[in-house]
Amino acid sequence: MTPFRRHLRQTLTIARRDFTATVFTPIFLLFLFAPIIMLSFSLIGGLGAANATRGTAAKQRLVLLLPADDARAVMAADARQRTLPDDDRAPPRLVAHPVTGDTAAQARAMLDGHGAVGGISVAAVLHGALDRPVVSYAAGDRDEARYLAALARDAALVRRAGAPALAEPVLERVATAAPSAGGRDASAFGAVFGIFFLTLFLSGQVVGTMAEERNNKVIEVLAAAVPLESVFLGKLLGMFGVAVLFVAFWGTVVSQAGAFLPGDLGAGLRQLSPAVGAGPFALLFAAYFATAYLLLGSIFLGVGAQASTMREIQMLSLPVTIVQVAMFALASAGASDPDGWLAIGTQLFPLSSPYAMAGRAAALPGLWPHALALLWQLVWVAIFITVGARLFRRGVLQSGSAKPAWRRLFARG
């Protein structure tokens, strides 16, 4: 058997062990269904926030202190304008209040709380007359005041024009052959974010796998039989298999759920069509997810191999995560201009390259840069694995008491 085939076999043996040891456990189900838990909490949080928003709007009023004709004209304008924003951003209910003297003083008294009834407060008051309107508002309610001002302007314009008949516009959706520039930008950002989210969520698992071998002292058996590079790669591939299983499961679920989306939302998603075409983009997205996982996983693996306790693992993982977030930020910034210097930089820098190139696939046609990029990223995976294995060999294997390389950096003397 050639050395390559022997190493491949050993790598796959270790990958298989790690995959089965992870997947065939009850804990894996918890991991697999973690997104449901996350989604549930997000929904609960979203409902809470929506309730809070609606509750605030329900407990506020906009008040008109105008002559009766003016108040009717403004109420009619409110009826026209209120349909524009969606329910969550709808302004508070508008009420007309009888004028009892100095409207400015009356408005101040209302805003000061004297006009509040049953816990309902006044956000803004339109007073005076339509030909010289004044809007008074409480601090923090500037948007409500601007809404009242817009109503006053609308009512005054309608009155000046002699109340022409208003035609009801027809809404017509037009199917476009080519995606819009905005749609491409959105799909580029979506690609960057998708890979970032998946790798952030999944690659962290790799960090503790070498600690398992060290704690169980299995590493000596592995190191005697298998080159450390094969051990590292095998562990990485094993956990990548777990990640692929996870993505395949949820990808299937989400793709089926997409059939139940409302028509407009489906059409909106179609606007996200990537520049290289849907089929090649799907393949490239999968490839960049793989390289992003392997790149980040190889670093996590190398870092985790140096640590001997969970506390050390967490301490050492944090800087890697911060770097990953930084790479995501840079790749996102470059996604809208894939030929700009920032984008080119992030496409070349190995840690940000998968994100940035996924964004490029969404924004620009042309496949050959992706072949080069994938090759470039795989070279760096090999480099990270080799460096990680060497650090492990020198820092941990040569002596049970030897300090890891990162500790020796800070050792005195």
Partner: protein, 314 residues
């Protein structure tokens, strides 16, 4: 590659950890088909030597040949190894653990599983085939790991302190297993600091102390380093008896021990009888490996000073 006459050759192996030369020029030649012991006190450099031979760590100086291969990895599938620090995945079943270790060395999983069941049965662990490692006792887990290191029927088996942690029954099982593997044609290289096992098993042995090889030869040659010991029991003992006995004589209860004089013991016995001490008991004993080991290691310590490792300026 495999036609090399020796299973293992180590030539001037050196390993430094920082400024310490933990292994300081060790030479070993292990004949094929032999049971070879590497003996030495704690911290002598035995484990580091074995790890260098197996390629787990690289020597700073020197060369090694394993089953004819200049790099140990090239002979990896024909080597079995039981490390000093035992390690298995606790969640794995015994059968799977053995098959996994075989798979690392090139044995296919199905064959590994089948052999594992047979070997566990033969080792008296048939009931534990599908038990998880975490449910086994320490000794049973150790036997499982040992079986895992030989499941692929290697040509060379390296065992680092294989008897430590085993009860007498399992020690006997292990000795039987080592002899069976030798009969199969395998070469066995093991380290220990328990002389009884080495004396019973080894065809040849090396004593390492202070990172250096201090002796190499057969068990008989090691025992031959010391002259025979005389154990003499007189009818009675008084102060004058010590003057008649050799200068190295030491009292041990009713008996006295001393080295067999170079000129023989007949003259001494004649004088003792004439002085009225008589002979209540007399034995001439060959020193065991234990005594030879203590002497070799003691001489090494005396030569190296109080430390058991050789230290040099960096």
């Amino acid at each position: 590659m495999s036609s090399h006459p020796s299973a293992v050759v180590a030539d001037g192996l050196v390993k430094r950890f920082g400024d310490r030369r933990v292994v300081d020029g060790v030479d070993l030649v292990v004949p094929r088909g032999a049971i070879y012991g590497v003996l030495g006190p704690n911290g002598a450099g035995k484990t580091t030597t074995l790890r260098m031979l197996l390629g787990i760590i690289e020597p700073d100086e020197g060369e090694r040949i394993l089953l004819g291969a200049r790099h140990p990895r090239d002979a990896g599938d024909r080597v079995g190894y039981l490390p000093e620090e035992r390690g298995l995945y606790p969640a794995m079943k015994a059968r799977e653990a053995i098959a996994f270790m075989g798979a690392l060395r090139g044995l296919d999983w199905a064959t590994g599983r089948a052999r594992a069941a047979e070997m566990l049965e033969a080792a008296g662990l048939g009931h534990a085939v599908d038990e998880k490692i975490r449910k086994l006792s320490k000794g049973m887990a150790q036997l499982v790991q040992l079986l895992g290191s030989v499941v692929h029927r290697p040509d060379l088996i390296v065992l680092d302190e294989p008897f430590s942690g085993l009860d007498p029954v399992n020690q006997e099982r292990l000795e039987a297993l080592i002899l069976a593997e030798r009969d199969r044609g395998a070469t066995i290289l093991f380290s220990t600091h328990v002389m009884a096992h080495a004396q019973r098993l080894c065809d040849r042995l090396a004593v390492i102390a202070g990172g250096r090889r201090r002796f190499e030869g057969t068990v008989d040659e090691a025992r031959g380093l010391l002259p025979p010991q005389v154990r003499y029991v007189p009818h009675h003992t008084d102060a004058a008896l010590a003057d008649l006995l050799p200068g190295d004589a030491t009292r041990d209860g009713d008996s006295w021990r001393f080295q067999l004089p170079a000129e023989g013991i007949e003259g001494l016995l004649t004088r003792l009888i004439a002085a009225g001490y008589g002979i209540a008991g007399l034995a001439i004993e060959r020193p065991g490996l234990h005594e030879a080991f203590v002497r070799i290691v003691g001489e090494a310590a005396a030569a190296s000073g109080p430390a058991t490792v050789t230290e040099r300026a960096a």
